[in-house]
């Protein structure tokens, strides 16, 4: 969409600059230009080299050191990682991360795709529907968590509402149930993200070639066949995008858990990100915290890297 806007602006101006194309810039002008270019880029490159790559390296170093409350540079090998995988809160957090990620990605993708397909059927008031489906994406996850905590709390929300209607035996207490709390967080997370997945799928659906669809219609293909054989295969790259992004978001889930359950009851709904934060800021276990952060990073890299290679391939291709 953006690239399109750029090329339109570019087209309008190309005409005015066309005549000078044949000329070549003088060498000294070019070097002046390149000096300016490095002056422009180097502060960012320096900052990102330190704040992203340097800091990841430093976190990794801390994870192999004896740091507790204060950094301690004594090298202790893998012992923080061994300690980490023996801590029950971390085991629970890892299991929750797997459950949450699978459900969040699967349901978030399905709901988003469903919304996009519905909106792609020339419905009236499409703008209004889209606005309603997408507004949760403008809310912070803390606000999302605050609202859903209230709605899912049996004493204040849906359960008490059903009791008020006369359904006294109705129970919906996932958020305070240590077996179910993580599923309560999935409900809120999916509600918040589905509009975003809808937006990605909708822009992909709008890009499917109309001519091919018309031809298939004339050949007698019904709507199901159209989706199964033409439309969904045509937008498969957006499935990759959505799946990878949602998995990356899910692994980092922090705000929602803090706002909804504060990792509770007990630590039953802890996630790797909340574990890492508690270890660093409350328990003064910098070494173990750093080990959990690096573990989280490794899993994120594993999930994102196929997509990164895919996109880097595209970037190389475009030159």
């Amino acid at each position: 969409m953006i690239a399109q806007g750029g090329s339109v602006a570019g087209k309008a101006l190309r005409a005015s600059s066309g005549q000078s194309e044949a000329a070549r810039p003088a060498p000294n002008v070019r070097s002046r230009f390149e000096v300016g270019h490095w002056i422009a880029l180097s502060p960012s490159l320096g900052l990102l080299a330190i704040f992203i790559y340097g800091f990841i390296g430093w976190t990794a170093y801390i994870s192999f050191s004896a740091s507790k409350m204060v950094p301690n540079l004594q090298f202790v090998g893998w012992s923080n990682y061994q300690k980490l995988w023996r801590l029950d809160p971390w085991i629970v957090a890892s299991q929750n991360a797997v459950v949450f990620t699978l459900l969040y990605v699967f349901i978030g993708t399905c709901v988003g795709l469903g919304l996009a397909i519905l909106l792609n059927r020339q419905v009236r008031f499409e703008g209004l529907f889209r606005t309603i489906f997408l507004y949760p994406a403008a809310l912070s996850l803390v606000v999302t968590g605050v609202v859903w905590k209230w709605l899912l709390n049996p004493g204040s929300g849906i359960e008490s509402f059903a009791h008020g209607l006369g359904f006294q035996s109705f129970r919906f207490d996932w958020i305070i149930n240590s077996q179910m709390a993580v599923y309560a967080i999935v409900i809120a997370g999916v509600w918040q993200i589905s509009g975003f997945t809808m937006a990605i799928f909708l822009s992909a659906l709008r890009g499917v070639d109309e001519e091919i669809l018309r031809a298939a219609r004339l050949d007698g293909a019904n709507t199901w066949a159209l989706y199964a054989h033409i439309i969904l295969p045509a937008i498969k790259s957006s499935f990759v995008t959505v799946t990878v992004l949602l998995a990356a978001f899910a692994l980092k889930t922090f705000d929602l858990v803090v706002a909804m359950t504060a990792s509770g009851p007990g630590y039953s709904s802890a996630m790797p990100a909340t574990f890492m934060f508690d270890m660093a800021f409350w328990r003064n276990q910098l070494g173990v915290s750093a080990a959990s952060a690096i573990t989280l990073l490794v899993f994120s890299v594993l999930i994102v890297s196929p997509y990164v290679f895919f996109r880097v391939g595209q970037v190389e291709h475009s030159h």
Binding site: R30, F33, Y135
Partner: protein
């Protein structure tokens, strides 16, 4: 007579489809599904607004989820100016101000840096340009947990711990990968000939940027500013890690406010506070939804 005339008219309009009744059933099903889904998505915000306007005594007597019998704005006043966040009872107002002080400079500076970077990465050919760009936008994907401890240590060393300046700087730096990605993709669509003619005229890098590139940039500037503002305003992780007490941003303070209870839980104040905390991003969404959506999809799809 007239009714059969209407019937004939409707059969006529439906004719080309062939299976008209089936088609119509399908349309009805689509609209039913949309309306049900709308209810699911809209219910939380509708309930937030109605609950925030219900007087507290109505929660005691009746159901917690219900329309107010009498409407009041008391809970909004309380959430804004007297509700307790931790031990201080000054409402969300000071934290709202903190958020503005942190978010505005971080948004403006990271957008400017992103624009310059985007120009440098597309309109000056140099070896390794793609590698540099890849290293920059990988920064969009890293889980910030992997940089929090060193960032906290650095802020401590610089004497910026717990303050707004340090937090704003952190948002600026970690925003650069996103803003660079946005502008770089936009400038790929700007023809190189434009720059070439400027170079021949002897214009330097920054003059070319100011006089030729910047005038073409308003659409992407709007998208980037909206994206950055929303992301930073809504952030919780950096806010809760690097600020304390009176310096908390509004998103962090909201979480503390709803977890600070003396006596009766005031759901109406909680909900008013939640709406106040999200009002700036919600207003941006309502009035500039198109740009908001472009930012979301550009931040993820293009690359």
């Amino acid at each position: 007579m007239s009714s059969s005339g209407w019937a004939r008219l409707s059969t006529l309009t439906d004719l080309p489809g062939g299976d008209a009744p089936k088609e119509r059933l399908g349309r009805i099903a689509v609209y039913c599904a949309l309306v049900v889904l709308c209810a699911y998505f809209a219910a939380p915000i509708v309930l937030m607004i109605t609950t925030s306007m219900r007087p507290l005594n109505e929660f005691m007597s009746g159901s917690i989820i219900a329309l107010p019998r009498s409407w009041t704005s008391d809970s909004w006043v309380k959430a804004w100016s007297t509700a307790c966040v931790g031990t201080k009872c000054l409402g969300l107002y000071p934290h709202f101000a903190n958020s503005i002080l942190v978010v505005v400079p971080a948004t403006v500076i990271s957008t400017i840096i992103g624009a310059v970077n985007g120009f440098a990465l597309t309109k000056v050919k140099f070896r390794g340009a793609n590698t540099v760009f890849t290293l920059i936008w990988l920064g969009c994907f890293i889980p910030y947990q992997a940089v929090i401890i060193p960032t906290a240590q650095l802020l401590g060393m610089l004497g910026l711990s717990g303050g707004l300046i340090g937090l704003s700087a952190v948002y600026t730096i970690y925003g650069i990968p996103f803003t660079t990605l946005f502008f770089r993709n936009y400038y790929l669509g700007v023809p190189d000939e434009l720059i070439r003619s400027a170079k021949i005229d002897g214009a330097g890098f920054f003059r070319t940027f100011l006089h030729i590139i910047l005038p073409l940039s308003p659409p992407i500037i709007i998208v980037t500013v909206i994206f950055q503002f929303t992301q930073i305003w809504n952030d919780f992780l950096f806010g809760v890690s690097f600020t304390t007490g009176a310096n908390q941003t509004v998103t962090v303070a909201l979480n503390n406010l709803v977890n600070t209870t003396f006596g009766v839980k005031e759901y109406n104040v909680d909900m008013a506070a939640a709406i106040i905390a999200t009002l700036p991003t919600l207003l941006i969404y309502i009035f500039a939804g198109r740009f908001f959506m472009r930012g979301l999809t550009a931040g993820s799809v293009k690359g």
